[in-house]
């Protein structure tokens, strides 16, 4: 009885219409919210969430006010699948609708997979430079690098999410433990006393000469948090000193312990690849007599030691390089036009929208023509 009710609820067209109408409202307010919140935050709050919460500015409580993108999309998906299972058998006159809905299901699932599985990072190359890793555009990591052996570096990377827990970190590859005494998700540093800044309590490295300040988290789209952390290294129950690590500090800070030298750096999170990309040339053309960009392009050399591959490729707007399960896009460039920034996307489900588009386009066309042609014929026969 309850099951029947549930089934009829989830297969009803009313539910479809309600969900579509809710989606219209959600997309509208989610778009307006971007003006204040920035694209990234609004996207998480409205579209990549189950429930949209609202609270007055400055208050620390929030109440659920609206279904989020995941909830509406999820219910629509269930609704769609259930309706097909229950109501539509295969019928020739429904062929268009069936294909359309199959395409939609594929599209929604593909986007869910993209949300869960895709990873974006940046590859910044100056002309001539080669790299075998890309960097996250907002996530950071603490890299503890054993530089004792001049030729190879042993890197232990600790993600910022672990640092944020402000606890003791042990790693089998390290002879000491790292205690995160303080973690500032967004920060400023200064080399002199300033209002709002406190003296850094670090005992070693660059820290003792600096003042630090916790900043509010950034919401703008074109800016990001710059974290800092205060670390204490301990071995055999004894402190080796405390260090301030920060993305502001470019100079490596080193610590020597048990005849090994380690450097500490808080840096953008790196993703290593089994191949390297070298920037051979970057072009930024403008239309004569204007500032309007005509073309951005990066000529790169792909080298893969494992496969012996060594070739050149040209990346430009609307023409990315797909290689090794990754896609490299022309994203930005250095102000002096001597360096290029490529966006690197790992998205296993990138093909689903292409298929979905074909299916839905075909389905809608079939359905539309199946109604239109007989109708026009009828109207035009006298």
């Amino acid at each position: 009885m309850l099951l029947d009710k549930l089934i009829s609820f989830f297969t009803s067209l009313k539910l479809t219409v309600v969900c579509l109408a809710l989606a219209v409202v959600l997309v509208f307010i989610g778009t307006l919210a971007q003006v204040d919140m920035g694209l990234y935050k609004a996207q998480n709050a409205f579209f990549r969430s189950f429930i949209v919460f609202w609270g007055p500015q400055g208050a620390d409580w929030k109440i659920p006010v609206f279904p989020g993108g995941y909830l509406i999309g999820g219910v629509l998906l269930i609704n769609l699948v259930a309706a097909h299972y229950k109501r539509f058998g295969f019928r020739r006159d429904k062929l268009g609708i069936i294909i359309t809905h199959l395409g939609l299901i594929l599209l929604l699932l593909g986007q869910l997979a993209t949300d869960l599985l895709s990873r974006e990072s940046n590859l910044h190359l100056r002309i001539g430079e080669a790299r075998n890793y890309s960097e996250s555009d907002r996530l950071t990591e603490l890299a503890v690098i054993d530089t004792t052996d001049g030729d190879t570096e042993k890197v232990v990377a600790i993600p910022d999410s672990t640092l944020a827990e402000q606890r003791e970190i042990r790693n089998a590859a390290l002879p000491f433990t790292i205690r995160v005494k303080q973690y500032l998700a967004n920060s400023s540093l200064s080399d002199q006393a300033q209002p709002g800044f406190e003296k850094c309590p670090a005992t070693a490295g660059a820290g003792p000469r600096l003042w630090m300040k916790e900043e509010p988290r950034v919401t703008k789209m074109d800016a990001r948090d710059v974290p800092s952390a205060l670390l204490e290294l301990e071995a055999n129950g004894q402190s080796l000193g405390s260090w301030l690590v920060s993305e502001y500090l470019r100079e490596p800070q080193s610590v020597t312990f048990a005849h090994h030298t380690y450097t500490l750096a808080l840096r953008l999170r790196r993703y290593y690849k089994p191949f390297s990309l070298q920037l051979l040339d970057f072009r930024h053309d403008i239309y004569k007599g204007t500032e309007i960009p005509k073309n951005f392009s990066s000529r790169v050399r792909v080298r893969n030691a494992a496969t012996g591959e060594d070739r050149e490729a040209l990346i430009y707007m609307n023409n990315p390089l797909r290689y090794g399960g990754l896609t490299f896009y022309q994203a930005s460039f250095d102000p002096d036009d001597k360096g290029s920034i490529l966006q690197v996307v790992h998205n296993p489900s990138w093909l689903t929208p292409y298929l979905a588009c074909l299916l839905v386009g075909a389905g809608l066309t079939i359905q539309f023509l199946a109604h239109l042609i007989p109708f026009v014929k009828r109207r035009l026969t006298p």
């Binding site: 009803s12 067209l13 009313k14 479809t16 219409v17 579509l20 109408a21 219209v24 997309v27 509208f28 989610g30 778009t31 971007q34 003006v35 694209l39 609004a42 996207q43 579209f47 599209l107 986007q111 993209t114 895709s118 974006e120 789209m221 403008i286 239309y287 004569k288 007599g289 204007t290 309007i292 960009p293 005509k294 073309n295 951005f296 707007m317 609307n318 023409n319 990315p320 896609t327 896009y329 994203a331 996307v345 998205n347 990138w350 929208p353 292409y354 979905a356 588009c357 839905v360 386009g361 809608l364 066309t365 359905q367 539309f368 109604h371 239109l372 109708f375 026009v376 109207r379 035009l380």
Partner: protein, 633 residues
Amino acid sequence: MKKWLPWILVAAMAAWVVTALFPPPEKGFQAREFGQLPVLLNGRIQPFDSVARNSLLQIRTKQSLVWSGETGSEHLTASQWLLEVLMKSEVADTRPAFRIDSPELLGMLKLPEKEKYFSFNQLKDKLDDIERQSDRIQGVEPAHRTPFEKQVMRLQNALVLYQRLKITLRPPNSDDFTAELAQFQKALGPGLAAVRAREAGQKYDEQAFGDFIQSFSVFNDMARYAYALVVPPPNPEASRDAWETVGTNVMRLAHGGTLSPAVQSYAALVTAYRANQPGQFNAALDSYRQWLGERFAPEVKKGQREFFYNGFQAFYKALVIYVLAFVLACVSWFNRSEVLRRSAFYLIVLAWIIHTVGIGFRMVLEGRPPVTNLYSSAVFIGWAAAILGLALERLYRDGLGAAIASLVGFVTLVIAHNLALAGDTMEMLRAVLDTNFWLATHVVAVTLGYSATFVAGMLAIFYLIRGLFTSTLDKDTSKGLARMVYGIVCFATLFSFTGTVLGGIWADQSWGRFWGWDPKENGALLIVLWNAAILHARWGGLVRERGLMNMAIFGNIVTSWSWFGVNMLGVGLHAYGFMDAAFKWLMIFVGSQVALIALGLLPDRYWKSFQGRSPQPAAAPAASGLKRRPAAA
């Protein structure tokens, strides 16, 4: 006579369009021939005529100059006005070319508030004032500027543009440019010698030095501030893009270069024009054109074609004919005249052909698919809506399709006209948009989706007005209308969905993500969602005829927001068409649609057409709707 009326009307309008293509030959200075000469501006080859028209649009919001002078109404075409500005600026300075609307700004400048157009001479003493104001306003974000501040910026930009035009061909205060150029070439040797001697700390000819420095600084100004690049590249084989200003070319002399024959031709033109010698002017023009034709044949051809396109004014002519057709279609409902309905239909076909020719011409000139910016999207929406309306008219023959075709055609062309005030409508496309494949697929599909949604909304409005205020909406008509709206919404769903997903795929190709919740993407998604909601509501029997109509009217709001509203948010990667003057109109439009929907929600007993029909007037009118199953579901 009555039988022939449609054909007579079409013939008359066609004659009007065609005769405008063959203007009488020019007496005196051949401004039209001059207007066809190619130059490089905004990164593209265009004729002087386009420079003139787009400048006038920005300065005066008109494409020509009309004013009442001492001898009655006087008139200058854009090219004639440009000739004056380039060559006889002291006369151009007296023409009322600057438009100022803001009473506040007029007050600040102490100008008569009753007038709208002012000459440069009237503004000459106020340049410092205006510049001071605009320097301050520059610091204010465009979105936060007051109407007064916007007017100041507009005037300042117009003044800068005008003054840059003035030194494009001729040094300021120059009277006989040919002679001055020859003099400069003669004085060059001694001048350079004096400069070198001075640098070496030796004795030098002060007179020669002073003359040289003075001319040089004049040409340097011309090189820096000239508005258009008018001198063709010296080696077209090496680079066809390397156009330069007159000043740059003259300054080459100082570095051992040679003067371009083009500069000599321009100097001859200026000299002849200032001496009021049309014969000499036309001869110089002829020889320059010949020289150019031998070396720059494609550019000359481009200039001629665009000049022709400018003069044709296809969209303006289509607009006029759409208005006429709309009036005829409306009248045909009142007197039930088949002749008038047919006249309207034929006229729309004519207007649509002219509309099509205009779009085709633009596509050839730009080498692009039909929609490349907001301006061309307006033109294209009107075009697609007109053909949809024509198809409906052909199927139903009731004047409704004709009315919608002509109304949407007219309104979108008015919108396009206003968007054109921003300047060149054929500007070059930034790198990411530089792809004919995606412009031809994604943009065209999305724009067709806009058109169809608007047509469905307009049909719904006609249904509502007819049903509410007249008693002519009988059962068959309303059924037919509902079917039309349903069909058009299907069409809109097909195109907006395909277009939106194609856009996602384009984004995947260029930015690395299929969907980024960018405002423009969301706008397109809203149309898809709303159209899908309409279709499902109809299939599920949640709405009947009137509900369908109200939902279709709401589609107008969704579409207008997606088309214009998202650009006003000023965020996101797509925010290339930001403009705020349109905000007021968008709000008015949205308000009107909300009012219509409110009317549409009135119970049956207020609908004139339904009063006789419903057997139970007071019992449960609002909920019952029309008590009929949708026909086409």
